[in-house]
Symmetry: C2
Subunit: 307 residues, 2 copies
């Protein structure tokens, strides 16, 4: 199949095949049954790949404590992406004014108060506080699979405000976590070969905010702390990052008081798997009808080879 890149046509195809159902707000849409079958297939394929990794998966809701977001200094690096949940804590008269403003589609945000929770901007943040203390001798591996939120409305179908992110997180020494990150990069290269997704790896940086962010990004690239596996979806020139491979050094070990068995501060790494972007990539490269996908891809995603 020869691929041409036309973002608007791709979006319209997703809608026409009832894979996504627009809500009217860019980056927020419903998912139809076949989209979810592909998502389930991807989760199955990852379960198989990690079958003998001895990890435990912990699921979190799409929100986390505001204090945790503050603790990981998220607002220093990514203020533009945060989503804070504000609620109404007033009395009857204020409630009448609130309802009237809402009825007239007038602003009502200033009648609310910031609550104790924020949108979870990354699936793994909620995990670190749970593992304060000393790690087993061979470290620890944890799976996570959550909805995350980033305030970046966009016409790109692959840039959602709310999306599911599966991650694997490894805790231990640098020797535990750095080769493990490399292993996952190779696992994903093999998986994407089987799924016929044309991918290449790049050294990358996070989307840090502002001028200070440029320095943070340069340092991250210099130290090769982040790789991304890129697949063209919206255009050939600007491929989309589907999976990221992140080495945090001792950042979270220090913040959350996590030690290696020998008492040294723990190092961590995480594999951030853009489940929705991989799903989108499959529709782009294999077509809108999963029943017609190549057999090797179907057998990888579904036990009986059928979506």
């Amino acid at each position: 199949m020869s691929i041409t890149y036309d973002m608007a046509a791709f979006y319209e195809g997703l809608v026409a095949h009832r894979l996504i159902l627009p809500s009217g707000v860019p980056g927020v849409f419903g998912r139809g049954p076949m989209y979810e079958r592909v998502m389930a297939g991807l989760n199955h394929a990852l379960d198989q790949i990690a079958l003998n990794d001895g990890y435990e998966t912990i699921h979190h809701p799409p929100v986390l404590p505001r204090q945790l977001l503050e603790k990981v200094n998220y607002l220093e690096a990514f203020p533009h992406l945060c989503g804070s949940i504000h609620s109404f804590m007033g009395n009857g008269l204020a409630a009448l004014r609130l309802a009237e403003a809402a009825r007239n589609h007038e602003p009502w945000g200033e009648m609310l108060v910031q609550s104790d929770v924020v949108m979870s901007p990354a699936a793994c943040y909620s995990i670190y506080p749970l593992f304060k203390g000393t790690l087993p001798a061979d470290g620890r591996t944890v799976g996570v699979n959550n909805w995350v939120y980033r305030h970046e409305p966009s016409a790109e179908p692959t840039r959602m405000m709310a999306f599911r992110m599966r991650e694997f997180v490894r805790f231990g020494s640098a020797e535990h976590v750095v080769p493990w990150r490399e292993m996952w990069l190779n696992r994903f290269k093999a998986l994407f070969d089987t799924l016929q997704l044309p991918a290449h790896a790049e050294v990358a940086s996070d989307p840090f905010f502002g001028r200070a962010g440029k320095l943070m990004a340069a340092s991250q690239i210099e130290q090769k702390l982040k790789f991304e596996l890129m697949v063209p979806i919206n255009s050939l020139e600007s491929p989309t990052a589907l999976v990221s491979f992140n080495y945090h050094q001792s950042k979270f070990g220090e913040l959350f008081d996590i030690q290696q068995a020998d008492g040294e501060v723990a190092h961590t790494a995480c594999i951030g798997i853009g489940m929705e972007r991989i799903t989108m990539g499959l529709f782009k490269h294999l077509g809108f009808d999963p029943r017609a996908w190549p057999e090797a891809a179907r057998r990888t995603l579904w036990t009986d080879g059928q979506p």
Copy 2:
């Protein structure tokens, strides 16, 4: 097994068995692997019950357009439960002030602006706009399965701020939707019998806000628009609503311009299934170890009878 009711002891048991992992904020916690196995089992049991219902399931993210919340008049009825997402839209200098406030755990909510999205407070709201127009002659049934959010921090383990709500929604004439609601009430009574959950049905009302809310609640009860299936979890005296059976009359048909095949405005009903509360109810009544649950319950939840 003789059941005693002690809310604090039940919560501690859930934590001790790594079924839930507290975050520090009431109503927000991680879910361990066995909790998720029970959740998956419940979804499987519901799939089996509805196997021949001819419905399509649509998944939505945990957020929805603010305009949609305004359109369903949510702020008139439930202002105290809403969660509005606010984001930072400022420049570099403002970002520095934001980061500093966050670093010092000082208020930073007023530096944000209300965005176009809010937390989804009910799984079915996102569905109605998708079905504007004329229904098939026998109406339509839609499944939904989303994270929802309600601002009601509480020490009760069954009262979460973020939780999963599966729903079935029926569109059609009153004759399509009212007996269908009754059918689902009977289906759940049978399911809860098999699962050994001691349930009883009650006419109920929504938790409307304030003095005007009292009138709305009384009218809802008078017209028997809402039933709930109640199971004691936190205490014997105040059982918990696990499933609600709601008849909306023509409210959503009018709001979203949905007609029956004969041109009359559509009636709708929804079955709101508190997936997390049923999971909690099973741990309360069958014990913290699903491997030791009665065989009939295990066979209903998992094909091979094993969690």
